[in-house]
Structure formats: structure tokens, C-alpha cells
């Protein structure tokens, strides 16, 4: 029960081998073991969305997954998405629209927004509000975030033409 278990996975494209306690959740594994502190912890019970990461192309709450469950998985964190440039246009839209204040929710918000934009080319404001409704933001009141995601969707459609 309390003996460490060895796991092997890819995080942001890099292979990671580690020995972890079975009770360690993915958020703490990323933050404390890999020092990927961009994944934030807000509620520790899957409500606030601050720890949203991508596991095998699906967004998940890292606080609701145990590290041992991601054996052989591919995990993408905000650091990975930033370095690859995948969301640079979305980040630029957030900057231009001041869609973040304290920034604590922002990595999770960007993860969730990119997930929507990959699924839906032309989301309405209601669609965006609905998709982000699992991510708390206490600073902005959401309006600017919705604007930034909408602007990114419009720009991506424009460049896809």
C-alpha cells in the first residue's frame, strides 16, 4: 500500500520514469516531482479547473487523477503547449484583451479553451461560456476571456480559408 510504484510516461514529449506513492495525484506529481508549477492547484477536488492538463489528447483535472494512472500516457502541461507554440495565438489574444489578471486560473483556462477550439471552429459566445464553465476565474468576470477565445476562433477560421 505505501510502497512506491514505478511509472513511465511522456510529459511534454519527454520520457519520465519515476517512483511514486500510490496516493500521489497527478497535479502534485507534476508540481512537486517534475517542478512543472504551471499546473495550479485551487480546490483539490475537481471543481475549479486550475489543474487542467491534457492526457492523451483529452483534458482532465490533474487533481482527480493519480500519478500511477498515467502509466504509458502522454501528458501535456501548459509549459509544453507554450513551448511548442500550439497556443501562441490564443495567448496573444489573452494578452491583447487582458483576459487574465492574477493569472492563477490562466493555464487551466488556456487548456480548456484550446480544447474547445480544436473541437469547434465557430463556437458562439454561449458555447464558449459553456465549455469554460468548469474553470473558475475570480478576477476577470469572464467577459474578457470569452472575447479572447472568440477572437482566436475568428482568426483561426480566417487563416484556414
Amino acid at each position: 500500500m505505501t510502497a512506491p510504484i514505478s511509472i513511465s510516461l511522456r510529459v511534454n514529449g519527454e520520457r519520465v520514469d519515476a517512483h511514486v506513492m500510490p496516493r500521489l495525484n497527478l497535479a502534485d506529481f507534476l508540481r512537486e516531482h517534475l517542478h512543472l508549477t504551471g499546473t495550479h492547484v485551487g480546490c483539490e477536488h475537481g471543481v475549479c479547473g486550475a489543474c487542467t492538463v491534457r492526457v492523451n489528447d483529452e483534458i482532465v483535472r490533474a487533481c482527480l487523477l493519480l500519478a500511477v494512472q498515467v502509466q504509458d500516457a502522454s501528458v501535456q502541461t501548459i509549459e509544453g503547449l507554450s513551448d511548442s507554440g500550439e497556443i501562441s495565438d490564443l495567448q496573444e489574444a489573452f494578452r491583447a484583451r487582458n483576459a487574465l489578471q492574477c493569472g492563477y486560473c490562466t493555464p487551466g483556462m488556456l487548456m480548456a479553451a484550446q480544447d474547445l477550439l480544436k473541437q469547434q471552429a465557430e463556437p458562439s459566445r454561449e458555447d464558449i461560456r459553456e465549455h469554460l464553465s468548469g474553470n473558475y476565474c475570480r478576477c476577470t468576470g469572464y467577459h474578457a476571456i470569452i472575447d479572447a477565445v472568440e477572437a482566436t476562433a475568428n482568426a483561426r477560421r480566417g487563416s484556414a480559408r
Binding site: C43, N98, R138, C139, G141, Y142
Partner: protein, 797 residues
Amino acid sequence: MTEASAKQEGLSVLDRPNSYIGKTVPRPNLDRLMQGRGAYVSDMELPRMAHVVFLRSPYAHARILNIDASSAKQMPGVVAVVTGKELADVITPWVGVLSHLKGLKSAPQHAIAIDRVCWQGEAVAAIVATSRALAEDAAERVDVTYEELDTVTDMCTALDPATPVIHASLGDNLAFERLHNAGEVDQAFAGSDEIVEADFVFGRHTGVTLEPRAVVADWNPAEARLTIYQGTQAPHMVQNIAALHLGLEERQVRVVCKDVGGSFGIKVHIYADEMATYALSKLLKRPIKFVADRVESFNTDIHARDHHCKGKVGVKRDGTIMAFEIDDLTGIGPYSMYPRTSAIEANQVVNLVGGPYITKNYRARARVVFQNKNVMCQYRAVGHPIACSVTEGLVDLAAMRIGMDPVDIRRRNLIADDAYPCGSPSGLRFERLSHHASLAKLLEMMDYDRLRAEQAQLRKRGIHRGIGIASFIEVTNPSAAFYGVGGAKISSQDGVAVRLDAQGSVICQTSITEQGQGSESLTAQIVGSVLGVSMDRVRVILGDTDNTPYGGGTWASRGAGIGGEAALQAAKVLRKNILDVAAAILQATPAELDIVSNAVVNMGDGAPRIELKELSRIVYFRPDTLPPGIQPELMATRHFVPRDYPFAFTNGVQASWLEVDTETGFIKLLKHWVVEDCGTIINPQLVNEQIRGGVVQGLGAALFEKCIYDERGQLTNANMADYLVPMSGEMPDIDVGHVVSPTAESELGAKGAGEAGTAGAAAAVSNAVNDALKPFGAIITEIPITPQIVLTALGKI
């Protein structure tokens, strides 16, 4: 989106080519937050750092009979288990009172409870271990024997003779009482055609910063210095308090504040567990980290509001408001918070009720009582939502009674825009407000008449929509009148130092802090504009008591107005110093020269004369080439504090458009509008986002947020699933407009904007709900307005 803004008046020093003032420019340094490369305290690790977990009382009121930590101390990774008694050798207790709040009393509070706990969540022992998880494991092995005591939970009976007194030494449960009587109130009520009374109830809620409170304290015995890394709004205040209670000089304490995951007033106080963390570091001689978990946050972050306020308004049939009267009661938990005290909110309520209106007849009583619940203190828009909801609720009820439109009664009674300077019945002084211009702009933005017509049409189809309007005033730019005069060492002045570096860029150190509002941006915009330097060449340093001038920080909507003015004045001096040097180099006079786009140019024809980079090179590396007698000073420091007015009042008005489902009781927010006047606008986008964020916190209080206690003082919804906050799906788009009345107290003319949104949002929603329910004769004066409250008001449950 409406970004309407009245044209600003010319400001000589700022109204320059390439000025950033009044322009939307992106905040510097957002990349690190967007890329997950921020530096929040919860991310921090230091060598030899240990983690503290606090064992907290499960009872609201109990005597601690015994603490047995012997088994816990044997657990893996445990460094120490420390009780309140042991920690009291390192840190002294405190009493949260201020001398200008006459009669305010509180009991000594310890970093960790010693023989008695007074609320569910008060710490009884600290468990320090090499990881948070191991400390939590050990905490389960600490055996505490309690004797449960009678609890005081209902503030309405806290003063009854039969109710136990929480702190026997204080004699009763009354922490503070303020009475106010202005004008001829009885006569005014006697002369009123109608008198309307209502009981307003405000739920206890809290800030829910997404990053919980976090601190790393690092006592280095070899240096005899404590470094505190903390998400705080007021680093110098933390420095002062930590030094005072640890028996240190302030020079022995450094407070560093990097990125902060939300604050909203939650992180402007000194908490017992933070004090304990500082003390543990001193005791154990190593860095100690404390990060509250979410349950701890709900049980120990200050709560706010929780007021019962009886209100009364007298009105003539022609709509003239004759008098206001209130009787406010609030419960603050077992201790007045330190060092800002827990009487400020009630005091603000007395100050602000009736504030936008002409009548001088005003009577008020506010009582602040102790209870066995979590501590309560200042949270965003302190007192404003209470005062605004009571005032605007009464105004709407009066209008309803005499059959007048809510807009008309406001037009008739709001202080005229040309009546300033003037005073309020509670003794506030207004320099220059714009209630009527703001209301006119709001009505235009929302197309009031069209909306009323739409409402009438929809009513015929059984769709019940409401329009709610709320005018408000906001306290900003507080002078020493807020805390300093009461004896608290909380600075009301701020300082900024600017210097030209060796490559012609600007380093700027400011005592205001950043929690996402845009302190860094507004400082860079002001300094860049005054100096003629592009913003990307201005680096702003904040949040470090070793490396910034002394000052108050960022709270009470003071950063732009006070810290911004200090930045402006410092930049003016540096500009003069640069031009003096340039004149000497160029054999010109300073009056012939200007600085534009990082270069010294001719004032007359704008021709470039010398780049700042080259000027810096000469000053720093070839001063031998300067004319004799010239000693360049490429660094300047200035401080600012308002002296003419105790507070720079701002004003504004909000409107809510919503739909009430009379079958389910659910309320759908359709749209929200705000017009606000914060004086000179440095960055319209940042102001608008402060307003929007503030509105949504106010909407949370209006519809969702409430800390629900049972009769034994147990907080029953201390988690994010059960405590509801506004989510994106429920929030409306929010249009923001501005009227601009700069304060003459500073050259910048900026007032604050951080709390305007929160001040009036709940009042606008409450008035809109009552407007929607008008056909049913249902009146709701309680927030949060849950479906249950709506259905109860409708007589359906």
C-alpha cells in the same frame, strides 16, 4: 462592448507625443503567467524547507484540556509538533483595535490557540514535516482533548443577557457601536408623505482567491534576518507586524511578494496561521512553508458582509427624499482582525448610506458583535455593497410606493453635478462627482426606454424581466485618515524611484504591489509617458521591502491614484535631471530640449539630438568628458499622499437586466451596465476589467455566495462544490462606460476603480428582481437571492 469615454482634460506633463496615458496597452510580463512560468508562493521551494500543517479545532467554542503529540512526533518525516503555549515563547499576541474607532474592543489573539478555541478552524497545534502529506499524516495522530463550550452563533441574539459572553474580560459581546445623527431626522419623517421600511439581510461570504493564502518564512539565524515570501497586498505592513511580534527590528525582516493568485482584500490582513509560520521558522531555524488547503481557506480566510440592516426612508409625493435611517448589525467572529480591525465595514456602512443623495437628514446606528464563527474583516468594496443595497433598495421601494419611475426619483434626488465641493450627512467630503452625467450615460448605453417597452411586451407573455438601477459612491485613495490616525502602522503614502540605466532604459521601483490589477502597467505607462521612453524600456520592480521605497501597497483602490502620482512626480524629476545633463553635453539649455521616443530632441523642431542610450554611456562611463561642475543624477525618488481630502470619492451607476423564472425561482442575468467616474483613466482596458471583475464578485454575493453555518458554529459548505461562485456560464456580458472628473489633488488626477463594480452590482440585481416581481407584489431584501428565496417571496413554498 461599449468603451465610451469622455475626452480627458489636457494634462501638460502627460499630454505629450507618444503618451501612454488614456491608451489601452497590454500589461507587461503577462507571458510568464500565460506560460505557467509565474512565481507564486505556492510554487516556491527553498533548501531545508519544511512544511507546516495546522491541526484545527472541530468545535466552534471549546476549552483545550490536553494535547498529546507523542505519537505524532514518531511519524515519518516529522520535524516538530508545536502547541500554542510553546509558540508563545517566540511570538507575542495581538489585539485588533484602532484608536479612532472609539470604543472598539477585542481580546488578545494568539498565533495558535493556547487554552481555548473560539471558532471552528482555529489552529490548536502546528505539525511540521518534510512534506505537506507527511505533516497531514502526523496531524491525524495528535490527540487533543476538548471540553465543548456554549457557542454564540446568531448575531441577532449575541447581545441578549441570556447569551454567554465569549471573552469574559470584555464584559459583553459588543465589539463596537457607532451612532450618527445629522440634520432633523424626526422632523423630516414627520414631513414625509410616505415612509418605507425594510429589513435587509446580507449573507456571510468570502473571497475565494484561487491560489489559497501562502507563505514561506525563512529565518536565517546567521544573518539574524527573516525573509517572508508571501502573497500579500501590503508588504511593509507585514514587515512591521512580523517584526513587532517576533521582537525584531523592521530592518531584520524582508517581505517579498511575487505573483499572487488573487487577493481582493483577503490577502491584506495578518492571519494567525501566517504569524505562526513566521514564528515556526524562527523557532526551528529553517524555511517553513504554509499553503492553506481549500477547506482551511473557507474556515480561516476572512469572511465578509453578514449584516442585518433595518432601513427607513421618508419621501414626499413629488419624489423628494426627506431622510434615511438605518440600524445595522454585523457579526465578526470571535476577534477583531489585526491590524485593520473588523469594525471598518460597519463604520463604512454608516459613512456611505445615503451618500449619493441630497438629503442631509440621516440617523444611523451600527453594532458589531462577537460570535463563534470565523473572523470577518475587509473584503473588496468594504461596506459599499451593504450601504448601496440598503440605500438603493430604499430608494426603489420609495419610488414604488409613490408610483414613480426609479430613474425619475434618482434624477430628483442625486446631488447635482455642479454642487461640488460638498459634504454628505455622515460628514464625508466630496471634491467632484458626476451622478447625473453618469446616469444619463447609463440610460443611453442601455437604451432604457426601449428596454422598458420590451419588458412590458414580455410581461404580457408571462415572461418576467426586471431592470434594476443602483447609484453608488466609492472610497478611493485613502489618506492617513483610514488607518494611520488610529495608530496602525499602515502607510498611506507611496514612493517610487526611477533611474536611467547604462543603456538608456528605465528601472522603476514602486511600493505599490501587483495582484493582476495592472500596477506594473500603470507605473510603466506613467513613467514612460513623462520621460518620453517607450514602455518596453521601462522595468517595474515591486513587492520587495528591501528593494522598493516604503509605502502602503495595493488595497482600497489606491494604487493608481497614490502610487501613480508618486511615479509621475519621480519621472518628472528624472526628466529634468536628464535634460540638465543633455543640455550640458549639447551646449544647449534644458528648455530647448525634450525627450521623445528614447532620445533627446529639440523642443522646437523635434530634431533628434542625442539618444538616451548614448547619454547614459557618457554619464556612466565617460563622465570625464562632461563639463566641470556637472554631477548627473540619473535617479530620482518621490512620494505622494493625499492631504486635502481624507478620501477621493468616485461615483457611478450600474444597471441589471434579468429574467426571473417564477416557476423555478431561477434568475438569469441577461446584461449588466456600469458607468463609473474614476477621474483620469490611465489604461481604459485595465479600468474596464477591474470594473467587470468587481461586478462579477458583486453578482456572486447577489445570487450565489454564502458561508452556511449551523447553530453550533459549523461551516457546512467549506468546499468549492458546495460554496457557489459565479461561473462563466451564468455571467452576462458587462458593458462599461466612463465619465471623467479628475481629482485636483494630484497632477495625475486619477482616482481608484477597483471596488466600484462590487459596490453596486448586488443592489442593481436586487432592484431588478423586485422590478421583475412587481406584478406579484413580492419584495426581496435578502442576498444571496436563491431560488428558495424567490419562491418563498412568491408564496410558492
